[in-house]
Symmetry: C2
Amino acid sequence: MGSAVTSNTLIALPGDEALAESLAGGLDAAIAALEYRRFPDGESYLRIHDSLQETTAVLVARLDRPDPKIPALLFAADLARDLGASAVGLAAPYLPYMRQDIRFQPGEALTSASFARWVSRHFDWLVTVDPHLHRYAGLNEIYSVPAVAVSAAPALAEWIFTNVEKPVIIGPDVESSQWVEAVAARHGLPWRVMHKQRFGDREVRIAVPDLSALEGHTPVLLDDIVSSGATLARAAEALSDAGMASPVCAVVHGLFSESCRETLKAVGVRRLVCTDSVQAPEAGIVLAPLLTPAIERMSDCAAGRR
Amino acid sequence: MGSAVTSNTLIALPGDEALAESLAGGLDAAIAALEYRRFPDGESYLRIHDSLQETTAVLVARLDRPDPKIPALLFAADLARDLGASAVGLAAPYLPYMRQDIRFQPGEALTSASFARWVSRHFDWLVTVDPHLHRYAGLNEIYSVPAVAVSAAPALAEWIFTNVEKPVIIGPDVESSQWVEAVAARHGLPWRVMHKQRFGDREVRIAVPDLSALEGHTPVLLDDIVSSGATLARAAEALSDAGMASPVCAVVHGLFSESCRETLKAVGVRRLVCTDSVQAPEAGIVLAPLLTPAIERMSDCAAGRR
């Protein structure tokens, strides 16, 4: 068949226009402006002024704090299709609702599966960055459309290598070991993984690995998500108890809920950095160069399948 | 076939527990408690502790200001089905997203159709009260599952007959004439309809009908929805200009966005009343007695179809 070439039109959800612009540059794609406002009664109004005929519409959406954004996201997908887009893709650097991947207690909603169904019914494909895959081995377990998980490891590794002197990459729990290994491997950096026990949403205890060989190193606590900051804070305290220097925290997705920043400052974290998968002052690691090839590949594949 | 008898279990969305209780009384139905909270990152957590096996689950949800509520609503529907409910119905006294029923401008999202698809995919049937049917003749134009629109007219008529002296029912625009006629007819009250021109979301002008024969009557401005209050305020001003007494405003759905109450007070509205389809201090008209027979009928029909 050979590779198909398709023209892409990027459409940003409210607040994500700058991310869409940066992706458009790398993709040689057009931008269609989404007019968005709320009616006085709180309902969403959406309008796209540009034609989408003969193009793949790619919705660009940062989906942290997802609930109020979900209706607009799904409305926009329906609208793009109504306006003639030949395919509708989703570029969502942070994929929400990955954490409730099992019924921990009987009667709990399996929100990961529901959300995946909604996205799969509205979009032809999905590109995201480091989804929180824990009990699911891959996105295809719950997403019925092609879904690519881009790794932020190259960008995180580059940032750490450039900005931190003599780093040792430390994962705050076993779940984080997949990101820790991937980042450490790129520049052959040393790494360790701690062991975490979780009690409820916020309470966490940490078991520290042997750090005796790593004196003089700067610990870089690495995780996929920071939310309340409890996990990283307990890890930072454990490092301090073990006599390590004040750590840098580097995460893929900086959700920063509640008093996260204060919590991390209070335990002596010297610097906090995350990617721009979420809007935050700490979002110093740019994902666009990693996202654009994946979007291009998905868009071309979807066009080839037609 | 004869009528099937099914056991119903009502499940309230957060804040709608009292409404569910009042419906359960009329239906001889069980209540299943929905545990709802948000994770620190803003994602929804839902859990239902009771079994739903062999029952019809009926979600009770007030859907004004809908966007933040929509994910929880759809999660709850999926969960009820996961927990073994033989059917899942929706009792939503206020049905949102009925107003964007046409693309007024090219490129606008037809949110009414999208929202109807989401509900139709998650629920087996729907009971609501006076949906804003304007360009759609019936809910079945957009809802693919059985949908019953209960009329609040009996409850509104009763309230007006009991509480207002010598009332004349007045519709602020042609769209309102369906509610005005239905309410006036029940006690043979006089009625009139004004003519409205709308400019944008908030600006409205009114043409007044001949009111000369109605001196000494108390005008009752009646509409299906009050949101910004602009329509009712212009109507109240027009009544004042025509020499009528200060009006009562009676509406089915009291959305009360922004400075609605102040707007209506400023133009001399003497009293404002609405049904309990939305939570509000003005919600003095109880819908449960009208809703329960419709819920019972839909639930029995759905059970009979199986």
